[in-house]
């Protein structure tokens, strides 16, 4: 992507869960790194897709702490694809079961960052992967 275009990110929590701390911190870290971040807070999966389109974001970041990682991710990706945003760089964090990792990759999640990930790793990942074609599943 062109160097002068700032990376646009939507950060959201699909569903109603109130464990916001990770979302707030990653939002700030990406902003500190010069990205334009829309802090969506709690959103339905439909709202996430609509906002991703309206705001023309390059990246969608999901935070899921309730355990329903696969269900929520699957639903979000379905809506993103329906809205024509299936190519967005999709990253996620939260409480993620190791056993779910292969499923998440298969669904089309580009990067998974569980708790304890140094923030710079997330920033570097986004910079390194944004705008590139998705890895083959």
């Amino acid at each position: 992507m062109a160097k002068d275009k700032r990376i646009r990110v939507l950060m959201a929590k699909p569903g109603m869960d109130g464990h916001w701390r990770g979302l707030v911190i990653v939002t700030q870290a990406l902003r500190d790194a010069g990205m334009e971040v829309i802090h969506g807070g709690n959103m339905s999966v439909q709202q996430i897709a609509q906002t991703a389109v309206q705001e023309d974001v390059d990246v969608v970041g999901l935070s899921i702490m309730t355990g329903n990682v696969v269900g929520m991710t699957e639903a979000t990706i379905k809506e993103l694809k329906k809205a024509g945003k299936g190519d967005v760089l999709l990253i996620m964090g939260g409480i993620i079961f190791e056993d779910d990792m292969p499923t998440l990759k298969k669904l089309g999640v580009d990067g998974v960052f569980s708790t304890g990930t140094p923030l710079h790793e997330i920033v570097e990942f986004v910079r390194g992967h944004v705008g590139k074609p998705k890895a083959k599943k």
Partner: protein, 534 residues
């Protein structure tokens, strides 16, 4: 090797620490005035004369899994293992009073806790559990309403029930936006009506409790948490007083408190000691209370979840044990050890057993409960207790200077407080200034960690089954009776009748948690304070 000048050090709240404390550091301390004996104001050394010799602290985990049936099994197992208090962990929709079949709750039903829509669900959760013998902690007045409705249906005398609802927690600013939350004014009305109703009908219930658990878990330090706790309790008591419906003393009779307990052991211990002294001072000086029983700061402590990490999860066992030791040395009445696996999943059976045993080992093997306030008189502990008391009082005064906690919340003051606290914490972890073993020090590659722990497996169909069950319930109930009860509730909401009474009646008549709360949403409007909008 001799080191001339020791490294600088601070407590977790940023209080500068010397490397040694001596008599001159506590020379202003007056035993009778500042410490006193346990069971005597200012209660620094403990709220009861006999403390753990008289009664061991209560073991109470926060438990709820994807169905009411499974939750019932777990509660029975907890009691079999020797736990003596229960705490209902609701799923996300239940915690915010939405029904399982609300389309907005798709994907959240049965995750992170138990879904409770109806009094029938509550009956299932407490099937074969002697509720008159075990005390239960309920998350909100709405959930408590379902609990009381269940007890009434069972024919249990409400006067025999014991438990806690952190109803006055509504005065504490929350670190998150809660979607569809009733407006603050409406929530205050509910909290006050709840407390008045329970004072008359469920006299052993801790009905005016205040919790700052989530505040510390969202990055606030002990000084801020204690300052907030005092500010919220004062505003709650003032509100009660201004309503003037029941004697002021009644507000203090069954008050209790909840705090998170984290890694800085002495700071945690001293915070509990300081809290007791500070609360006594507030009771005496602000409210002129003379009955010493009304000044007791009874407290439940729980492992601060944010101290547990996903990397090398067995390390959390050690962290939790230290937290619980701190709570015990600090004189807490109820203790809640988290599961060591909670950064990975909700606790497994193995983790539940370990949590309970952690406290039983503390009670029965270590002998730390034999002598009351064993650290009392330590130069460091007494100095730090005074220091935390002083600083927390200053934080409380800052909030008071803004016109009290509700005004400060509405002004957006706490948005920045939380943001600052969160980001500051993370910056310190990222830079290594705040050490987290296995995360930013001695970090291993995941594949090099020589063990794996079991993970709680959700039943993936549980949510769908719950929704189907609720739909069937809604279809089969007595519609006219439900509607009449909801209309009656609305009438109460629009007058000065006690709304909680009619909430319980609506639940008994078959209304769901959301239908009852929706009446409050309709009459009082929704919350417009958007705390974490960045």
């Amino acid at each position: 090797m001799a080191v001339e000048s020791p490294k600088e050090s601070t407590s977790h709240s940023g209080i500068p620490l010397k490397d040694l404390y001596a008599p001159e550091d506590i020379k202003n301390l007056d035993y009778a005035r500042d410490l006193g004996y346990p069971g005597q104001p200012p209660y620094t050394r403990g709220v009861y004369k006999t403390m753990y010799r008289g009664q061991q602290f209560t073991i109470r985990r926060f438990t709820g899994v994807e169905t009411p049936e499974q939750t019932n099994e777990l509660y029975k197992e907890e009691l079999r293992l020797g736990q003596n208090g229960l705490a209902i962990a609701p799923d996300v929709p239940t915690s915010i009073s939405l029904d399982s079949d609300n389309p907005r709750c798709e994907g959240d039903v049965g995750f992170c806790g138990v879904p409770i829509d109806t009094v029938e669900d509550m009956e299932t959760i407490f099937k074969d559990i002697p509720i008159e013998k075990v005390t239960t902690w309920c998350y909100t007045p709405y959930i408590t309403g379902l609990y009381f409705a269940m007890a009434e249906k069972r024919g249990v005398d409400l006067k025999a029930l014991g438990g806690t609802t952190p109803a006055m927690g509504i005065f504490v600013p929350i670190p998150v936006d809660i979607p569809f939350r009733v407006s603050l004014d409406g929530e205050i009305r509910m909290a006050m009506d709840f407390a008045e109703w329970t004072a008359q009908n469920v006299p052993n219930w801790h009905n005016t409790s205040v919790s700052v658990y989530g505040q510390k878990d969202n990055g606030m330090n002990n000084i801020q948490a204690l300052g907030l706790l005092i500010a919220a309790s004062v505003e709650a008591a003032d509100t009660w007083k201004a309503r003037g419906r029941m004697p002021l003393e009644q507000f203090f009779r069954r008050i209790s408190f909840e705090m998170a307990i984290a890694n800085d052991m002495f700071e945690e211990i001293c915070t509990l000691r300081a809290a007791r002294r500070l609360w006594t001072k507030v009771c005496q000086e602000r409210y002129g209370l003379t009955d010493r029983k009304l000044m007791q700061f009874r407290v439940r402590v729980q492992t601060s979840g944010c101290t547990n990490v996903a990397q090398e999860p067995l390390n959390n066992i050690i962290r939790i044990a230290y937290h619980m030791l701190s709570g015990c040395l600090g004189g807490a009445q109820t203790m809640h050890p988290n599961g060591y696996d909670e950064a990975l999943c909700i606790p497994t059976d193995q983790s539940m057993l370990l949590s309970i045993r952690t406290l039983q080992i503390l009670q029965d093997e270590t002998n730390v409960t034999a002598v009351i306030d064993p650290l009392g008189g330590s130069y460091y502990v007494e100095w730090l207790t005074s220091e935390i008391e002083k600083r927390a009082w200053e934080y409380y005064k800052t909030i008071e200077g803004m016109g009290g906690i509700c005004k400060a919340t509405r002004s957006g003051f706490f948005v920045n407080e939380y943001k600052k606290a969160n980001l500051d914490w993370d910056k310190k972890v990222d830079s290594g200034e705040k050490v987290v073993i296995g995360v930013n020090k001695y970090r291993m590659k995941p594949e090099d960690v020589p063990y794996k722990v079991p993970i709680y497996k959700f039943k993936p169909t549980a949510g769908k089954e719950k929704i189907a069950k609720l739909k069937k319930y809604k279809k089969e109930r007595d519609h006219a009776r439900v509607q009449a009860a909801l209309d009656r509730l609305e009438k109460a909401c629009r007058s000065d009748e006690n709304i909680f009474e009619y909430m319980v009646q609506a639940y008994r008549a078959g209304a769901t948690i959301q239908e009852g709360t929706d009446v409050c949403r309709k009459v009082y409007g929704l919350d417009t304070v958007q705390l974490m909008k960045l």
